[in-house]
Amino acid sequence: MDFKERIYLWEIVKGLWITLRHLVYNLFHQRSMPTLHYPEEQRPMPARYRGRHRLTQRDDGSLKCTACMLCATACPAKCIYIEAQEGLPEGTEKRPQVYNIDMLKCVYCSLCVEACPCDAIRMDTGLMPPPADSREKFIYRIEELTKYPAIKHPNPPFLHRCGKL
């Protein structure tokens, strides 16, 4: 290394020049910037995007889930945690007391949806998990999982596949 390189000063100036160049360029070309102001701005999702999970409910508002834990068994990321309890006398024998999905662990593979024998979990909200400032807030409980309705797809991929559309 020669003297110029050894004092680093020239290299720092070079680096700052690159930063400055980008800053000035981007100030005048804001339209072509690839970044988005997520979550205020969101990229349009492809038609087959399914989104985060939803626990389906019966007409009376009770969960369809029977806490059989087949979703937790199928889950490759081990992100589903269920605690079962005795069902109500008029309902199914078993129902979930706790149903948590750790969205930070989830890989959106939808194997849970496939495994469910009761159609109790679906990935059809079309939503992304919003950002949060603690890990705790990424653990979605029954309330979060039943909060949002299903979206209507203009071109439902499943129905397409089985020839109903």
Partner: protein, 554 residues
């Protein structure tokens, strides 16, 4: 001795044995629901059908006696067709609610359907519906829909528990398993029926919906709830124990176990466990670190010298008891050590019977006596400790027995004596009266959290494997004792159970030449060459009367 051939292979069985026994002798598996090797034969599930030459129809192998010259086929097309038909018949009214059934994953009906049928149901009519979720008693729930009426549970209760409360009533598809009205099934062996049930009809209320069985991991263990020491399997997942099942061991418990022992795990999972060391300061006990707690213990034991004493527990493993005796006799040079035997104390838990439950509720009384005798500790060591404490001669005391105050006969006298000791360290699982009067409380691992051996009352040495890691900062007894030795400025004690056992065998002659490999999963006795230590088998039931009164002054 009839000779017959099963699937073309000749076999000779004793007279009176069945075709099923002959096939088992050859290692040929015949599917079954109602047959159980330890129960009387019922022959009502029809799953074990085999073809016997010169017999017009298929016959049930569990009821057919093996006779001379029989030619048996267990896998012929006709048999396979029969098995398929039986399964289809059993499944006609079976609700198939496997996703919510606790038995799913370990269900005989499920397994055998996949192995012998795997054909979809042809049933088009409505299934017969029967009541679900019936409370049979304090431990068991019954689902009458799932029941296949094999009557294993009925036979078990009649033969082993002498309880005739379960029975089947009605006929055809209306037949149900039930108890007499107003008479719940509250037998102490009732949970064995849950193990026996080939389907999910009988479910344990304790385990119900807690965990799907395929998540559970097994650790072979030994029940420490009475001196019968049933062999067990501890089933756990992610550090939590979910249930305890009996492990088949002809020398001890067969395939059975009592309900008390099965539910014993709950205190291990309990939130109230002592999770970190505690030191007594001016205002009650405060949580502290191991380092600080051991400094206090070390200072006390260094100052005490030979005026230190220790109280072990007959619930500890042989290895821990050996390390305990070694710590006091050899390392600290104090002869004041002992343990409180159950025969001096009160009856705790279920009363003894002629099946599995023994009066002495401590698993390792015999092992403790043998080991302490080998170290030259007097039999009545605990009494000497008490007397020394009363005389104000004790400077430091280590108590490894958390149930000490429940077990000693004269509680008031002990409380007064313990108050006179300058320094009391208690290693315990839970907080209780004893830990509250301690100067230092050390968190101790439970039996499921440490490895070791136990000596049964008849001399059988059984091994128990570690199932889950200790809760919180708890240490197993070997680690804890070694820390005490180090804190007192002495050499550390070995920490590996197998190494301690080797030293134990070399020192205690009652153990003969046993090794861990020789003990294995089924346990082993020391053999003829070993010295025998005469142990009085405790009979609390006898002692309960007036005779025991004067023995309980200490």
């Amino acid at each position: 001795m009839p000779k017959l051939t099963v699937d073309g292979r000749p076999v000779e069985v004793e007279a009176g044995q069945t075709v099923m026994n002959a096939a088992e002798k050859l290692g040929i598996e015949i599917p079954r629901f109602c047959y159980h090797s330890k129960l009387p034969v019922a022959g009502n599930c029809r799953m074990c059908l085999v073809e016997v030459e010169k017999m017009p129809k298929l016959t049930t192998s569990c009821t057919t006696p093996a006779t001379e010259g029989m030619v048996v086929l267990t896998k012929s097309p006709k048999v396979k067709e029969g098995q398929k038909a039986v399964l289809e018949y059993l499944l006609i009214n079976h609700p198939l609610d496997c996703p919510v059934c606790d038995k799913a994953g370990e269900c005989d009906l499920q397994d055998q359907y996949f192995a012998f049928s795997s054909t979809p149901s042809r049933m088009i009519d409505q299934k017969v519906h029967k009541p679900k979720r019936i409370e049979l008693g304090p431990t068991i729930k019954l689902d009458q829909e799932r029941c296949v009426l094999c009557t294993r549970c009925v036979r078990f209760l009649e033969v082993y528990a002498h309880d005739h409360s379960l029975g089947t009533v009605n006929r055809g598809d209306r037949a149900i398993l039930t108890v007499f009205p107003g008479r719940p099934l509250d037998n102490i062996y009732s949970l064995n029926t849950v193990d026996l049930c080939p389907v999910g009809a009988l479910t344990s209320k304790d385990f119900r919906f807690k965990k799907r069985v395929w998540f559970l991991k097994n650790a072979d263990s030994v029940c420490t709830f009475c001196s019968n020491q049933c062999s067990t399997v501890v089933q756990h997942d992610e550090g939590t124990i979910y249930r305890i099942l009996p492990r088949e061991n002809e020398k001890v418990n067969g395939p059975w176990m009592c309900d008390t022992g099965r539910l014993e795990y709950r205190f291990i999972n309990a939130e109230e466990r002592v999770k970190c060391p505690m030191v007594r300061r001016d205002e009650g006990q405060e949580r502290t670190t191991w380092r600080e707690a051991m400094e206090a213990v070390g200072a006390a034991f260094k100052a005490a010298g030979s005026r230190a004493a220790g109280l072990a527990s007959p619930r500890m493993t042989n290895e821990s008891l050996f390390a305990f005796a070694k710590l006091f006799v050899e390392t600290l040079g104090s002869k004041l050590a002992g343990f409180v035997k159950a025969d001096a104390g009160l009856v705790e838990g279920a009363p003894a019977d002629d099946f599995l439950i023994k009066a002495d509720k401590n698993p390792n009384t015999r092992g403790a006596e043998e080991i302490f005798a080998a170290w030259g500790v007097e039999v009545d060591g605990a009494r000497s400790v008490l007397e020394a404490a009363e005389g104000g001669k004790l400077a430091a005391l280590l108590v490894m027995d958390q149930a000490l105050l429940e077990r000693v006969p004269n509680r008031e006298r002990w409380l007064k004596a313990l108050a006179k000791v300058k320094f009391v360290a208690v290693a315990s699982l839970a907080e209780n009266e004893l830990t509250r009067l301690a100067h230092v409380v050390l968190p101790l691992a439970s039996w499921a959290e440490e490895e070791g051996t136990y000596t049964r009352f008849d001399g059988l040495v059984q091994r128990s494997w570690r199932a889950v890691p200790p809760r919180g900062e708890a240490k197993d007894a070997l680690g804890l004792l070694s820390q005490v030795a180090v804190a007192a400025g002495k050499q550390a004690l070995p920490l590996v159970a197998e190494a301690v056992f080797k030293a134990l065998v070399a020192k205690v002659r009652c153990f003969g030449s046993l090794t861990y490999a020789a003990i294995g999963k089924q346990g082993a006795k020391a053999g003829s060459g070993a010295a025998t230590h005469k142990v009085e088998i405790v009979n609390l039931a006898k002692d309960k009367g007036a005779g025991g009164a004067e023995a309980r002054t200490w």
